[in-house]
Symmetry: C2
């Protein structure tokens, strides 16, 4: 067999594998979106039910602000980026969710602090002393502006963004956390991660805002990178304010899915910056390292939490397999491969995607289970709950569909089986 033919055959195999995954991912995205459209819309009050049982039954009507903001964002993003999701129903539901947030999310307007959870009709039940409700509110408003063009949404987004940045970098006292003398000045990686994701969101195709937040993006990236500790051998979830390791369980705490998610946030940042050294470092430290330590050698899947010294974590759920670290890992490895061309990363994508589709998908009722035992058995049958909504699964599927489409587009066409046959084109080039 000639070398040239083998290259053609290898490319053919790769094309087939990518094409097969693109089709699986596309179909799965359709099913997942259909699940949320069928079961989650609150036609009476606006917003979304997210406490959904295995078959979509609403088992609680609480409205978690994180999940309201995320679903608005997701619907708008799908509407904006995918021809087949450009339906009035999706847009109207997103707008109704946005209006619900505008009206009820803030606990004491004009103050910007948002509730964590609301009653079905919008009365606040609980407030978290963190920035995350506000971050998902910002994502929702920015994306609503992008699909509707209405400036009031963008004003909300930018004002909230500036408030969040102020809380993080200037003065956190508005969040209401008490300052106790024994509490170490520590940083959770979630904070700069989330903020970097917002910088990406607000700066998309918006040179002015991209410029406004460029320094903030660099600061976030630098803060996230401080979480690589122990001579580059571990990503730690919490570090001291000045970037050192904290003592005890808090300091040794690891969250492999979070590191992988931070990885693709950082990779997008490095690509925007055109920084090849950072791209390589991110792939090494935030993709390969957390996978190597976080993948369960016995049962497959990513552990939820780990201890950097290999001690037993104190969180009861540490060894469980959650859906979102796996969807983040799929994005991270496919993005890493798209960026670097390193086949190791493509194989890791396949490994994670196979596990994920096999273990988390519910072929009977749609959407994914969220919580498996270490061995991979379904531990909770719910499809949505206080922390699982219409977000990680469809975001993963949508991003993977886009990336797989782009990879297929980059590959040379298959050799013609005979004269006159058209070059192979991916079946549904819907991603844009």
């Amino acid at each position: 067999m000639s070398g040239g033919l083998r290259v053609w055959q290898d490319m053919d195999k790769e094309r087939e594998a990518l094409q097969a995954w693109k089709e699986r991912v596309e179909q799965e995205l359709d099913r997942v979106v259909a699940f949320w459209m069928e079961h989650s819309h609150d036609q009476e009050h606006g917003g979304f039910f997210t406490c959904l049982g295995r078959d979509g039954q609403v088992y609680d009507d609480l409205k978690y602000v994180w999940l309201q903001g995320r679903q608005v964002w997701m619907y708008c993003r799908l509407y904006r980026k995918f021809e087949r999701f450009r339906s009035p129903e999706l847009l109207d539901s997103a707008k109704a969710g946005g209006e619900f947030l505008l009206r009820f999310a803030r606990v004491a307007p004009p103050g910007k602090k948002c509730a964590f959870v609301l009653t079905r009709d919008g009365q606040p039940i609980k407030v978290q002393r963190t920035i995350f409700s506000e971050c998902f509110y910002t994502m929702a408003m920015n994306e609503l502006w992008r699909v509707t063009g209405e400036a009031r949404y963008q004003n909300e987004a930018v004002e909230m963004m500036d408030q969040i940045a102020y809380w993080v970098r200037e003065d956190p006292s508005g969040l209401g956390r008490p300052c106790l003398p024994g509490a170490p000045a520590s940083e959770s990686m979630a904070v700069p991660m989330m903020l970097l994701n917002l910088v990406d969101q607000l700066g998309e195709a918006d040179e002015e805002l991209a410029g406004t937040y460029a320094e903030l993006g660099d600061w976030c990236a630098q803060r996230i990178l401080q979480h690589v500790q122990r001579d580059g051998q571990a990503v730690l979830e919490n570090v001291s304010e000045d970037g050192g390791e904290l003592s005890g369980c808090l300091g040794r705490h690891q969250n492999p899915g979070h590191a992988l998610e931070a990885g693709w946030f950082l990779l997008r940042h490095a690509i925007r910056k055109g920084d090849p050294e950072l791209r390589a470092r991110v792939i090494d430290k935030f993709l390969l390292l957390p996978f190597r330590s976080g993948w369960d050698p016995d049962h497959g899947g990513l552990f939820y939490f780990q201890d950097a010294d290999g001690l037993c974590p104190t969180q009861l759920e540490w060894a469980m397999k959650l859906w979102w670290p796996h969807s983040e890992a799929m994005i991270a490895f496919l993005m890493g491969y798209s960026d670097s061309g390193d086949p190791t990363l493509l194989h890791l994508f396949y490994q994670v995607a196979e596990y994920t589709f096999r273990q988390f998908r519910d072929p009977e009722h749609g959407e994914w289970f969220g919580y498996l035992t270490r061995e991979g058995k379904v531990a909770l049958t719910i499809k949505g709950g206080p922390f699982k909504g219409c977000f990680h699964v469809p975001r993963c599927l949508a991003m993977c569909e886009e990336m797989l489409g782009a990879l297929l587009g980059r590959l040379a066409p298959a050799p013609s089986p005979g004269p006159g046959s058209p070059a192979a084109v991916p079946a549904r080039q819907a991603a844009k």
Copy 2:
């Protein structure tokens, strides 16, 4: 075989079974206390390390106030009630723990609010907006007074008790919980349970305080009984302020181990009151009912959480088997049997105790594992952590040893094998 002989033989069998369990429980109590004495004492700062790995290794030096108070209480109780634990080392460690609490537990003295967790040297890290740190502080101080006779401990206990009762019944604003319009006025069963336990603690052999808190005890019992809902078919963990079922997951939430623990608190209350109707009701609703719904028919053991409608709980750990519901169940069933003589309750004690000793004990390093999977595999190898200290296991063992001793004492002596042989007496009648 004559009826009389059969009765003798049955009693013989019962005596043997009780005696065997008394010996197992006694030996286990010795091993458990030895574990904590060997590994948990902070000789430098006073107080206790409670973050202990499988072999007793300290994996974090944080001091959780609940667990500091509980260990002081436990050591004093053992010292006071068991001849073989009347050692200076136990008393000195309890006193050092008490002094640590006196010095550091309160966040802003003379204010009574206590921290939830402190650094090793006593600096506050986190405050919970609940009454529980203060409750365990009170238990520790009252028990220290009982073993030392020093009035300052009792003053602390009574003052804190009055503060707690004020927070619960008059004005909770001192706890710092925000009042949000969407939050239902609800009561967690933990609050009246804990308070009833304190009434029991302070009133022991103290007629004056027993009188002072008699009305409070009745109020607590009445509030706990309000958690029996759905025509007496379910104990619900949270109910509305006026004793109705709350909507959603919060309202349907069940914690079988907590119901069983409330059961023996109530049973002691009913015995003190000499109220036979209440005794029977408690056994039916707080012992038999939670066991019937909460025992896993497939793998044995009590589920941690359940949903009263049989839906899937949203807590990731709902199906795990935790040590403390099992130790509480052992106390509850043995107390129920001691009170009622109903052999069903004795058999349930045996069933729970067999499961518990088989699954939770660590014959290699001592103490018990705290957290098993649904199937009974050890999920966390730690022996102590943020919520597991020197409390539920030794309290269960000590109370069971006392109750088994009393039951054996009540049984007629074994028929003499021959003239002149002494009547059987339990081997080590150490409990008093």
